[in-house]
């Protein structure tokens, strides 16, 4: 009956109004996260940079690293995000042992890599694999902000491409969570071409009519915005995430142009037509599950694969 249908109604919680503007200069993508993964567990308390409330670290951790007072989204590690998202014991990690070389013999790169491995407890800046979200199988990738600001070198590019190619083999949808300062300078032109490589792989995925959802999290900039992060069939952002091509500090230095308050936030990007949905972290699992589910049918009409 008609009435029964209504009871099932569920809507994505969309924070569409840019009610809480954030200054573009603080924090910027070049800066370390407001509260790094390493800092947070050590301190008992933490001050929310948005509402100023002093909060129990434990409570924030339990609330998906979202402020319990104002819903400010703190940065979160790839593994912590994975845990919030997928069905228990469903994750199978891929290519976990891939590590970077130093093909340019770039000053200081080797040390930076070791530092990043220690800080992030990961071998490289992206976590890939397959899992299920509310029962729906999916290929996943997560950038790790604590690994050289999520920058994309050969390993990040290769792991993402492999994940996409395997999704094609397995005929599964792909969800990628981006957080990145851009292409990794230390691998020079090889990093730059990872943009083309990941985009090309996504072109193959699209040819196969497989769904790709790109989730942009704070911060996503540069070569990652200008490649896989922008190519989703559906683009989701977390509230208040800073997303752009050029970082606000570079724009200020290069163009002597001060960005208006709120520029490059998720809400700004949505107003400018660049983002489909803004979804709070606590709603992400449900939103993705529904979108994945509604795309499972498919391929009945339209160009058959």
């Amino acid at each position: 009956m008609f009435k029964d249908i209504f009871r099932k109604t569920k809507y994505v919680t969309i924070q569409s109004a840019p009610s809480q503007k954030r200054s573009p200069s603080e924090p910027s993508p070049q800066e370390p996260p407001v509260i790094s993964k390493r800092e947070l567990p050590d301190g008992l308390w933490v001050k929310c940079p948005k509402c100023g409330e002093v909060l129990f670290t434990k409570n924030i951790e339990e609330n998906a690293r979202v402020c319990t007072t104002c819903e400010y989204h703190f940065r979160i590690s790839a593994r912590a995000r994975l845990k919030l998202l997928v069905d228990e014991n469903s994750f199978e990690e891929w290519d976990s042992e891939m590590i970077s070389e130093d093909p340019m013999e770039f000053p200081g790169y080797k040390d930076k890599l070791l530092e990043a491995q220690e800080k992030s407890e990961m071998m490289e800046g992206v976590l890939t694999g397959r899992a299920a979200i509310e029962g729906v199988p999916v290929v996943l990738a997560f950038n790790e902000a604590n690994f050289m600001m999520g920058s994309m070198g050969s390993v990040v590019g290769e792991k993402i491409v492999r994940a996409i190619e395997r999704a094609i083999d397995l005929r599964l949808p792909v969800v990628i969570f981006s957080t990145s300062g851009g292409a990794r300078m230390q691998e020079g032109i090889l990093s730059l071409y990872q943009m083309a490589k990941t985009s090309a792989a996504l072109g193959r995925l699209a040819d196969e009519h497989l769904l790709y959802i790109s989730v942009l999290t704070d911060p996503t900039f540069g070569g990652v915005t200008a490649s896989y992060a922008s190519l989703g069939d559906i683009l989701i952002a977390e509230p208040n995430a800073l997303i752009g091509f050029t970082g606000p500090r570079v724009i200020k230095q290069t163009m002597r142009q001060e960005l208006p308050v709120g520029a490059q936030t998720a809400e700004f990007n949505q107003e400018h037509g660049l983002i489909d949905l803004i979804v709070e972290r606590t709603q992400m699992r449900s939103a993705l599950a529904r979108l994945l589910l509604y795309h499972q049918e498919g391929a009945q009409y339209g160009a058959t694969v």
């Binding site: 008609f2 249908i5 209504f6 099932k8 109604t9 569920k10 809507y11 994505v12 969309i14 569409s16 699209a206 009519h209 769904l211 069939d233 559906i234 683009l235 949505q270 107003e271 400018h272 037509g273 660049l274 983002i275 489909d276 949905l277 939103a287 529904r290 979108l291 509604y294 795309h295 049918e297 498919g298 391929a299 009945q300 009409y301 339209g302 160009a303 058959t304």
Partner: protein, 332 residues
């Protein structure tokens, strides 16, 4: 009812009379139940008479009623779930067109709808339901995904027309609408277009290239606004009523002309008198056609939509046999 039209006054006056009579009967303790009953029957007759024989201009007034339900009123009643997706990925998110993925009778569909505001503030936000190029480009973006993933498309038309300002001209309003028409004509998924209020000119047509075109009983769908038509014909916008009659744009006209496929019933007096009833009618009629269309092949859906468009038009061809010759000559 906040907004009352002249043609509704006899009904309202009679209803008021009955109310007075009842009050009088109660106060004076006189039995007037038979008189009341007679009058109530008369109200019922009058309603059918008036609402059943609305002139085109009266339908325009109902279609533009300030409380007429818009897409956002229907959405939670029509769909089990609706995830709105925003933006053209180029310039802006146009709030006069809503789009997204919905669950309709258990089927994932792509929905595109024009949305007018309900008050001045909302109307400013939604530009009075007049989309800019970015709105049509959002529509094409989302419909292209429907095609990619094999989802049926439901469009809901409710606009006075496309935006007509400098920004719209600068960003290629004509191109944006044309691309919409081209795209919709080519899809291999079922497309059902429903006019739920005003169907104003090219701005409405942009979402109207369906395999099936449905119209709510009091909606209209016109090549030009009746006021503009009156202004051109008689240099007098106050003759909109006459223009409305000349343009033959009611649901009933369009059914006769073969443009509309079915009329969706509204409650007496218009959809605003009973949102739930209207939504249920909409739900049933759309579902009926969706079931039919889903049984067809992708190629047939595209071909039949083309043939439907192909057949629209009335003309005399004195020279029908000539082309066979021309073509032979052309092929040498």
């Amino acid at each position: 009812m906040a907004q009352l039209f002249d043609f509704e006054k006899p009904i309202v006056e009679l209803v008021q009379k009955i109310s007075e009579l009842k009050k009088f009967s109660a106060e004076k303790d006189i039995d007037l139940s038979q008189e009341v009953s007679t009058l109530e029957k008369k109200v019922s007759r009058l309603k059918k008479e008036i609402y059943g024989n609305l002139e085109p201009w009266q339908k325009v007034q109902i279609a533009r009623h300030s409380e007429r339900p818009n897409f956002y009123d229907y959405a939670p009643l029509l769909f089990e779930d609706f995830i709105e997706l925003k933006g053209d990925r180029l310039f802006a998110d146009d709030r006069s067109i809503a789009g997204g993925i919905a669950l309709f009778h258990g089927i994932a569909v792509t929905v595109i709808a024009q949305v007018k505001g309900k008050d001045t503030k909302e109307n400013i936000k939604r530009n009075f339901g007049m989309p800019h190029p970015e709105g049509y480009r959002k529509a094409v973006r989302l419909m292209d995904q429907a095609e990619k993933f094999g989802r049926p498309i439901l469009t809901f038309i409710d606009t006075p027309g496309a935006a007509c300002d400098l920004g719209a001209e600068e960003r290629g309003q004509g191109e944006a609408i044309a691309r919409c028409l081209l795209a919709m004509a080519g899809y291999r998924v079922p497309v059902i277009s429903t006019v739920i209020g005003e169907g104003g000119s090219g701005g409405a047509l942009a979402l109207g290239v369906g395999n099936v075109v449905l119209m709510l009983e009091n909606s209209f769908y016109s090549v030009i606004a009746p006021e503009s038509c009156a202004s051109i014909l008689w240099k007098d916008t106050s003759k909109a009523k006459e223009a409305a009659a000349a343009l033959k744009f009611t649901a009933q006209d369009l059914l006769r002309l073969g443009v509309a496929d079915e009329i969706v019933r509204e409650p007496l007096g218009g959809a605003h008198n009973n949102l739930h009833q209207t939504a249920e009618e909409l739900s049933q009629v759309i579902s009926k056609y969706l079931v039919r269309l889903r049984s067809e092949t992708p190629e047939s859906l595209r071909e039949k939509r083309y043939q439907k468009l192909r057949s629209i038009g009335v003309y005399q061809d004195k020279d029908q046999d000539k082309f066979a010759l021309d073509l032979t000559k052309g092929l040498d």
